[in-house]
Each structure stands twice: as C-alpha cells, then as structure tokens.
Symmetry: D2
Subunit: 388 residues, 4 copies
C-alpha cells in the first residue's frame, strides 16, 4: 500500500453547497486523503473564499475545472493530485469527468453519473481504456448493515428472494420551493440541469441501486407511474414503479419528494422463502432479520459482533452502541476507493473488500433506470422491458 | 335506547374457528349483546360441543343456519334474536345473509361480504327494501386513531391529499401450508371457497377499505400486479396496485401473504399539502402526525386527550397509556352497530357516531375492488378504470 | 367445569368511576361471567342510573354493600352470585371484602388490597379459614409477555438474575389536580382515603409486584427516597427505591406521577448472567430478549408461536400481529380466576395455569412494601430490612 | 481566525487502542486539525507501526511522551504542535497533561481527567496560571440534541426541573473478561490503572456529566449503592445512585456494565413542571419533547429546522434524516475546541458557542463524583453531602 495520503482535487462544492461539504467530511474522516486543490465555484469570489475556508493554497484555488485539470496534470508527480471529486449539478458531471480521465486522474463523482445514458457509456469506455478508477457515490450502499444484508442474501440465509419493497419518501419539495429562492430545489427541478426526471433521478436511482446492491437481482420489466403532484413543477416529484426481476421476484419501488413531513426515509424490505430483511436509513445501525418460525432478530452494526459478516464489520469504525451514520457510510465509499487506489498505485491487486464501492457500471444502471421509468410512465402498455 | 341487551345468533364460528371467537370477544366486551343461539358448525358434534362451551341452551344449538333462522323467527319477540353474525368462509356468506334479512333479522357479516359482486348487490337491494341493518366487519376502521386520521383529513388538517401508501404484509402463507393440513390456509387459497382472489380478497380489501375510510377519496383507475409467489398455489398470494384517485392523488397498495416473518403489519401513510399521517396496526394507539415546518407529533389514543377528536375519543375505553388493541377495534364495530340497532329498535334515529361502522356499501366496494384488481392484473393495458 | 357462567356482584364502580368499567370489560370479554347485581354507588341516584345502564334488574341494584351481601346470600343457590368485585377507593376495601368472605362469597379486589397491612393479614386468615378464593387485580401480571418473561427466568434462560430495573412514570399528577376538581386525583392524594403512601401505594406496588412475579426473588433490604414534588400535596407523588434481593441481585424501582408527559409507562428490565429481558407496558405484545453474544430477539405475543411458553400462549386470544392490550391482560386475571372458581365449584382441582392470578399473599406483599418504603424514606439509615 | 489547520500530537492511541482511533476520526472530520506527531505506544515496535499507519514522519514518531513534549517544544513555531491529545489509561493522564501545560501546549484529555481529585485540582491550577486550554472529551455532551435539551431547559420550556433519571447500561463486562485476555476489560477493572471505581468511573461519570450539562443543576446529596455483580472482579461493575439537587429536584443515576445484551444505552429523562425531555444515545438524532396537554413532539437533529436552537444547529453537519452519530458528537467537541484555540491563537475572544466543550471544571466534577459515590456506597448513613 501507498505510504502517504492520497491527494484530492474538488470540482464544485463551494461554501454554500450541500454535497461538497459532505464529500469533504467523508474524505477527511479516515486520514487517508488530503484535499489539495479545488475548482470550487465558477464565481471567483466564492471560489476564493471557499479555498481560504479550506486552507487551500491560493495557487491551487482554481475558478474552473479546465484550469485545474490542466495545471494539476503539469505538477510534479509527488505534488499532483491523484483524483478529482466532482460535485457539480448533474448536467455538469460529464465534461469534467471525461477531461479528468483523459488527463490520467481517477474520478469520484456524485450520482446520477451523467446527464444522459450515452454520456455514461462514454465514461465507461474511457474508464476501460485508461484503467483508471471511477467511484460513484451511491452513499447508501456504504452502510455496514446494508453490506450485512447483501452478504446474507448472497449466502442464502433468507432463501430465494421473492419480494422487494423499497421506498424513499422525502418531504422537502412539498411546496414549490424552486420559485421561493431554494437553490437546491431550483436546479433539481429544472430539466436542463437535472435531466429528464426529478424525483426518480434524484432519489429513485438510490432506491433502485440499493435493491440491486443487496439482492444482486436484475430487473426484467418495470411499470412506472411518475407524477407531478405540486402544481407548476416541471419534473416528476413522485413516483411508484412495479418491478419484475430475473429470478421471478416481484417488487415495488416508491419514491416521493412531496411526502410532507418526511426527512430522508429510504427503507428496504426483502422477503425470501425462509425469512426477511428490513433496513431503514434513518436508523442505519439496525438490520431486522425476520424468520418464519423464530423471533425476529435485531442485528446491530459495530465492531466485535461475531454474528456479523466480516464484510460488514470492516466497514464499522466503532463498537456496537456507538452509532455511526450517513457521513461514515459516505466515508466507507471513500475509504474503499482510497484503499483501491492505494493498492493500484503501489502495483498491488485491490481485494474484493477494497473494490466494494459503486463504479461506472452502477452509473450506467442508474441512467438506464431513469430512461426506462420515464419511458414506461409515458406508455399505455403495462410492462416496459428493462434493458441497458 | 333499548332497556336490554341485544340478542345475537351466530352462524359458523365453531370451537376451532379463528374469526368466530374474535366476534364473540368483540360482542361480549361492552355488555350490550348476549349470544343466545348458534349454528356453529355443520358437523353436529362440533356444533354441540361448541354450544356447550358457550353455555348455549341445547334447544338453541342448531346444526344448520336454515333451521336456526326458521326456529328463531318463530320464537316470541322477547326471546327471539335481534341479529345474526355470519362467520363462515366467503362462499357461504350470501345465502344465510339473504335468508336472515328475509326473515327480518339484522346481519353482521365477515368480509368480503359475498363471493361475487352480484351477490353483494342483491344484499344491498334487500337491505334497502327491508330497512334492516347490515354491518360488515372491516375491523381496522374500528381503531380510534384511524378515526382520528379520518377526522383530520376531513377537517383539512393536512390539506389536499396528494399521496397514499397503504401496505399489508403478512408472512403466514410463505410455505404451501394449504397442503400441510392448515385449515385456514386451505380454504383461503381455494378459489371455490375464497373467490377469485386470495391475498387481495383476504387482506387487500382491508387495505383498500382503510384508505377509503380515512381519505374519503374515490378510485378512478388502478394498475394491478397480482402474483403467485409460492409454487403450486392456486390464488394470488401477493400483489401491488398503483392507484389514481378522483382528486388527482396517486397511491400504491401493497399486500402480501408471503412476506416471511411479518405478522399482520397493515400500515397506511397519507400525505397532503401541509402534512402527513402515519398509522400502523401493530402499534395502533399511536398516530404520527407530520408537518412541513414543525416537529412530528405523536397523537395517542385514550380518553381525556383534549387534542383528539370526540369522534375518536368515543371509541376509546381506557385513558392514554392503557393500550387497547384488535379486539377493542372489533368491539367498536359491534358497539356502534349495537347502538344503531338499539336506537332503531326503540324508534329513535341513530346518530352519526352510532352509524360509524362499515355497511353494505363498503361490501360492494370491496367486491368491486377484487373484480377490478383481477381484471387489471390480467390486462396488458396499464390503467383499468375503476367503477362499481 | 361448571356448565354455566359465573355470577358477579359489583361493589363500587358507578357510572363515573374509572376502574369499575375496566373490571366489567375484563369480566365480560370471555363470556364466562355475568354481572348480576351491584352496589355501584352510595349515591342512590347514581346507583339507580348505573344499574339501568348495565341492564341490572331493579331489585338487584343496591345502594350499599351490606344490603347486597345480605340479600344476595339469601337468594336460592342457582340465582345467588358467586363472587363480589370490590372497586371502591382503598379505604373502603376491607369491610366489604371481609363481609363477603363471611357470607361465603369469593372476592375480586382492586389493589392495594386494604388500607393497612394488618387488615390484609386479617383477610388472609379469613381466606384460609373459609377456603374461598380472593383475587387481587395486579393487572400487569396478566400480560402474556410478562408470563413469558417469568417462565424464561424460571427455566434459567438468562441465568442467575443480577440486576432489576423497574420503572413506572406517569405524568397525570404534575399539577395540583386534587384542588382542581379531579375526583381521581382527590382521593388518591388524600391520606384518609388512599393510605400512608400516594405514588408508591398506587403504582409503586404494581412495579414491585411485577418484579416479584417475573423473578420470584425476595427483597431483603430497601432504601427509599419518597418525594412530594408538587407543592401543597399531602402524599408522595414520586420516589426511587434501591433494592437488594435474597440471591444477591441489586435493583432499582422508580415511580413517579409527576413525570410530565408520560402516560402509564411501566417498564421492567432484568439482567442475568447470560442475557436480559425487557418489557414495556405500552408496547405489551413485545418482549425483548437480549443475549451476550447473539442478536437481541423480539419475542411476540400471539397464539401459534412455537417459541413461546404454553404458559404465555394460553393467555393470548389472537394470533401474532393482532395486538391485545390492557383490557385483555385484565381479562386474563378474570379468566384464570373464573376457571379456578369453576373448577372448585365443580369439585375439581384447579390447575397451576388456572391459579395464575394474584392472590391474598400478593396483597400482603404490597401492603408490606408500602409500609417499608414509607419507613425507609423517613429513616437516616441507608438500608431498611424488608420483612413481612 | 487562524489561517491554517491546528497541529496535534497524540499520546497513547497506538494501533490496537480503541479510543485513540476515535479521537483521530473526530479530529480529522472537519479538516481543521492535522495529526503531526505521536507517542502512540511505549512499545517501540507498536509506536513505529502506528506512526507508519498514520503517515507520520519517522522523526516525529516518539516512544514516550517526555521526548515528544521536549522535542516538539524545541521546534520552530510554524512547525511545532498546538496541542496534545492524551488517550492513555486513567492512571497515565496526569503526568503528560501537566508536562504539556508546563511546556505551553494546550491539552485534549480523555475522561476521567486524572486518577485522583487532587491531581485534577493541580491541573486546574496550572490551566489557570498558563491561560492554556484543556478540553475533556465527555463525548455525549457533543450531540446536537443534547445541546437542544440544554437550551430548552435553560429557556424554561419545561418549567422548573423536578426529576432526573439518567441511566447507562452496558453489558460488555457480564463475564470476567479481564481474565480472558480482553485488554480493555483488564485495565478498566484494575484499581491501579482505572482508579477507585470501575463502572462509576468509566460510565457513571458520563451520566452525571450529561445530567449536569443539560440541567445546569448542582448536586447537594447522594446515596450510592455500588455493586460487584461478577464474582472475582476488583471494582464495581454496577451501581445506582439517588440524587438530590440544589433546586429541590430528585434524581436517580443508574449505571451498569453487566446489563447483559446492552450496548451503550445511555439515556436521560428530565421532567419539569410543564413537560419532559427524553434523549437516548443510541438514537441520538431524536429528542422527545413531552407536554402535559399536547402530543409528544419528535425533535430531530439536522440543519434547516427552524424549531431548533441555533446552539444545536451549529453542531449539525447534515440536513435532517441524514443521521449523524457518535463520531460527529466527538467531532463537535474537537470542532469547538479547535475554534476556541484558533480564536485565541489569533488573539480574538472565543464566542460562547466556541467554548461549548467540557473543560477542566468538568473534570473536577467527575473526580469528585467518583470520590463521593465510593464514599457513600461504603457508608451506612443514607445521604452523603456532595461537595467538591
């Protein structure tokens, strides 16, 4: 493994941004990564202020990503960044990602990976060509109890999966906030910045990814009902999707951003022949494990539980009862990405555990999911075939 | 009001039956009703044993409902029963109900009301002709916090309803129990005894009724996906239904009897412009009331809470913190039915609170729901119009 | 077993009373008991109204218990009541109970059993002399999951008990309600009607009984701190008691009626060498079973769970997921008492399961508990020996 | 504020240590602090390995704290550390802390602050003399909802506090693990390394601090019952303490490390004249706010809730529904300490919000608490006066 911290440059994520700050907490946490430069805003003043706030040197505080990528790639190897993190709005993911890859930088990128499926496929090709690593921050797969669920399904603990319910209610778009000065709401409900779907692109993709990550099953058909429930909005703020999987399982994915009073209540339930699993993001350290003939068990995250899979335990930082949360889940993605990068940079093979973070394939799945739910929602035919 | 207990006769509900016992607990609880006779089983031995167990006189322990209805109607008015309770399997609801009405007896009947929609409509006509009262035991509408939710929606507390999620997972049919000697499973999965739908008829109807009871909204379109997830079964054991309502609201109804490890986890969430409501049958004394800009409130059942609607409070027997449950909810249906009957029998007008129990119209809605979800599930067209 | 319902007479419990109504729901529920007469109030008008409301015949609607006991004992055996239920305030328990026993009636009595320990001992002597049955309604021991906990401790599932925490917070006396027209508050905070302790007598005794019922352990020493936290009150409204048990276990009992915002939050936790048990009255159908090296298990009440003790299951009326509550727990006490009486009246031996209801010995324990906590609270010495 | 990261040196916390790693996560998280050197172990091999693992330069990887403090204080000001973090076992807190202060370094120190009260007082004197800052990591006061509770009590939201229940059950010492090779258990149950109390020193002090932090009340008397419940142990592994506060409030503090099956279940309930507050460490983002006449409210941590105190919000990193946990609470202590240091080093006055972290006075309170509970537990007199 590399005998130094990895060097990160950030694109987007200036001082008022939400997700940029989250990425920094996650990257800092484990002491494996240092932020070395940033193109934090296209507004020069915000860029400068943000750089100062983060103690970046002035000469590595850029105002656009092109400059940053060019200048960083000209720096000597022992100073130059190892990867860029892209935390701009969806429409501005592809260009910097492609340019970074072309200049030899690894990439961490917010989801959805790009604006269109085609762009995602181009990135995949570039990743394959270059051998570089692209990490997509589908945060929720970073939680240890999600990993425990995945492992249990894999090992057949609940038998063949028959039914999947995944839901993601939020309430923050219950008003037409995009017209009331809410910057987050503004770009996320704007088809030009967000893409062809609002709610499904923003959070439906998380739900779909979570189901795929845990069960490993592939969608064959979907039947989507996307809704605009707040008058005047331009993109779906709600939707339900019926699901069919390749092993015969049925499912339902529900997402809403107008579920008034809900925070960020992603939850998944998976039922198999022998038992069921239930995990809720807002109480992430608990995995309910249900059985046909025995009491439900409360599996708990934490180092030191012999009943947990090592795959889950390695993603815990604390013993049971010391709750970890969203930032730690995010941190796990960065941690595993950093381990992978460190291995590759020191010419060793990343282990399966290191490689446990979402990658370009997950991004392509997400973009296809968006395309297909939008297509299905417009269709009068019940079932739309799901293919990528 | 009548100065005596009401007299009940029971059809079905012999000593090994599940739901018959439930009806007796519910009818006994408030001291307003006495069980006077029964045709508890068509098996004479079981009928006799069951009668003894219930301290029924031998001469009012019948072995078939025809006998019972005939003989009871020949008794003097001060001895004769006031109503029959029908707790036989679905296919055996209609005939005794019709005969009872024809002989001047009021009727309490388990859901689904009949085997076919047409039968239900015949019962409706008879009820209208006779002026008698028919009560359908959709238990879950008997819970006080369900009534509180209904009242709050009605009064506009959460604004216009936008979204309804109602789910009903059970796990008890995860195995092919109908082939393993489980009598409950046997008739409920048998199209000849249960009807054209299994899971949707048995519990989906409860979920649909609950949503209707609380919101008062009417379905306009549905898109159903019914599944047989346990190989070898003859009726659906699982299903998801997308819903469209007449006010523009969208919804999703999920029911499953193969959700391994679940008990009887009926739950509803309703979101409006200003807030949301959440109620779960397994913790029935709590109603979560969610707001856009204020903390979620935990409304609690119980006499003495000034913040509750009197409509809810009248259906509580105990002060807060003394949990009431399923039997009390069932008891509320009997209580309100008994009050209605008592009023009518003493020639006074039942109040709106007395009339708060499911009636023949609810039965018709349920039968139409079964018909339409089966029709939709077979259709390749996405949306099936919902009409009765 | 007796081939008829048992006949009950009620002393106290007129139309505005709280606990009398509870006793009637509980006695009615299972169809084993019929209310035949009552001395429901010493106010003749309330007595008459209450009798009418309950459909009692006028000639068995009494205005004092002496009349009732005398006249009922003069009735022919097939009409005469089998037992009286006493639901008057504490100070008026002893006299009617003693008179009933002297006239050959069995007795159900609200807790605390009497006003003084000495009276309780006199009742015990009379019960022993007459062979009659006295049932004390310590409701909380009627819950199935409490019985499950008792059985598990008995069978050594959690090993030797080391630690007991039992708590009983209520908030309803947070104001000086006894001066604001609250009748319940008035007598319960009046030393002449309630006894020498308020909170500890009213609810502390329930907590102490619950701990004793589940663990079977005997107190050896206590250290009590009783408080009057609302100025102007005459009896303790709060208290904590340190406990020492005969097997070396340590404990803490906390009760308060000024825990603002709490309903009736009785909860017990018991820790042994191998595991722990947790039960909370407000979610009574769940028993948490904790282990040193395995996930916590959620044991659930309900017929049909093979993992439950038959001792618990026999006290369930419904399958899992159909919540039973306070009235059913109360009903279990009446049910088991009725079975015992039925067996004795038909000259058979009641089984251990029938005899599973609190009796006169539990009443004596409760009175001793009150005496000792009051004594300890006044003492400067840390530990007060607990003896009866 | 300072235009650079603060520089930290760590004493203790080598690669197998629990709490050292926690401190590093917490210090890293916000990007305000960099670890520059360490005396991570007295075992030279472990020290070297740990240094490498943390990417420390070899010449700043020390094997004892004396060396580290001496050599660091000789470095030029722009390289020298700003503070040391001491994460050694209790008996080894005082000497490095005193030496660090004497050499002009600020100090972060694990609780309990020292081995004896007298040592704590010496540290206090030195802190006062030097004007340096000492931060004591009573983690639980770092949670935003604890801060919300504190603020609500302060502002009188629940009226005068009457009752405090604070409990801290853990189960990890249910076996005699100190004899089975558990290093954590070994030193914590060894009077020579841990001090005169085990459970009360380790976690009782956290509970006592939490109650003090939220209510601001001062103890006047205590009555303690410390127990050794696992045979063969040398220090208390369990205890209950009755509490009296200077405003007349009563309380009870319960701590146990033999509560089999419990993780780290610190919980506090505070009741006042008008309402109550409840917070549990294992679900830290929720604060239950209870009222006499209104539904309980679920206050939730998260940026953007207008109903939260800014004092709480400033200690949140994420919006509601993105759970933060133990590491973030720890991080808040480091964050506020860092802000204070940054202000002082740039000659500005730290604000009240910056100064919101436990300090030397809290350490003295903790040591006095340990002394007094041990004294009380040995005494036959009920109440022991609490004074520092």
């Amino acid at each position: 493994m590399l005998n130094r911290k990895l060097r990160m440059g950030m694109i987007g994520g200036g001082k008022d941004a939400f997700i940029g700050a989250i990425h920094r907490f996650a990257a800092n946490m484990d002491g494996l990564i240092e932020l070395c430069c940033g193109a934090l805003s296209i507004n020069p003043e915000i860029a400068a202020d943000s750089g100062k706030m983060l103690f970046l040197p002035e000469d590595r505080t850029y105002t656009n990503y092109e400059d940053m990528i060019k200048k960083e790639s000209a720096l000597p190897e022992d100073k130059r960044i190892d990867f860029v993190t892209i935390v701009t709005p969806n429409f501005a993911h592809f260009a910097p990602a492609m340019m970074a890859l072309e200049h030899g930088f690894n990439v961490v990128i917010e989801k959805p990976i790009t604006f269109t499926l085609d762009e995602a496929k181009q990135l995949q090709q570039k990743v394959n060509e270059t051998g570089l690593t692209l990490c997509l921050t589908h945060t929720y797969s970073g939680y240890p109890m999600v990993k425990q669920a995945r492992q249990m399904v894999k090992e057949g603990a609940i038998g063949k999966v028959r039914k999947i319910w995944v839901e993601y209610p939020q309430g923050w778009l219950s008003k037409l906030s995009e017209r009331e000065g809410n910057a987050q709401a503004a770009w996320r409900t704007d088809p030009k910045k967000s893409g062809k779907s609002g709610c499904m692109g923003d959070i439906g993709t998380h739900a779909a990814h979570l189901a795929k990550y845990i069960t490993g099953l592939n969608l064959t058909h979907i039947c989507a009902d996307l809704n605009i429930l707040v008058e005047g909005r331009h993109l779906d703020d709600d939707g339900n999707v019926l699901l069919k999987y390749d092993n015969g399982a049925a499912g339902c994915l529900m997402a809403s951003q107008v579920a008034a009073g809900e925070e960020n209540a992603l939850k998944i339930r998976i039922y198999g022949e022998k038992g069921g699993l239930e995990w809720a993001q807002q109480e992430p350290n608990t995995l309910l494990v249900k059985w046909l003939d025995q009491p439900t068990q409360i599996f708990r995250a934490g180092g030191g539980y012999s009943y947990l899979s090592p795959f889950a335990t390695k993603n815990c930082r604390t013993p049971g009862g010391h709750p970890e949360g969203y930032l730690e889940a995010f941190g796990n993605i960065y941690h595993n990405f950093a381990q992978t990068l460190s291995a590759k940079l020191s010419n060793s093979e990343p282990t399966e555990e290191m490689l446990d973070f979402p990658r370009v394939e997950d991004g392509i799945f997400g973009m296809a999911f968006i395309d297909k739910v939008v297509e299905s929602s417009k269709s009068d035919v019940k079932w739309t075939k799901f293919e990528i």
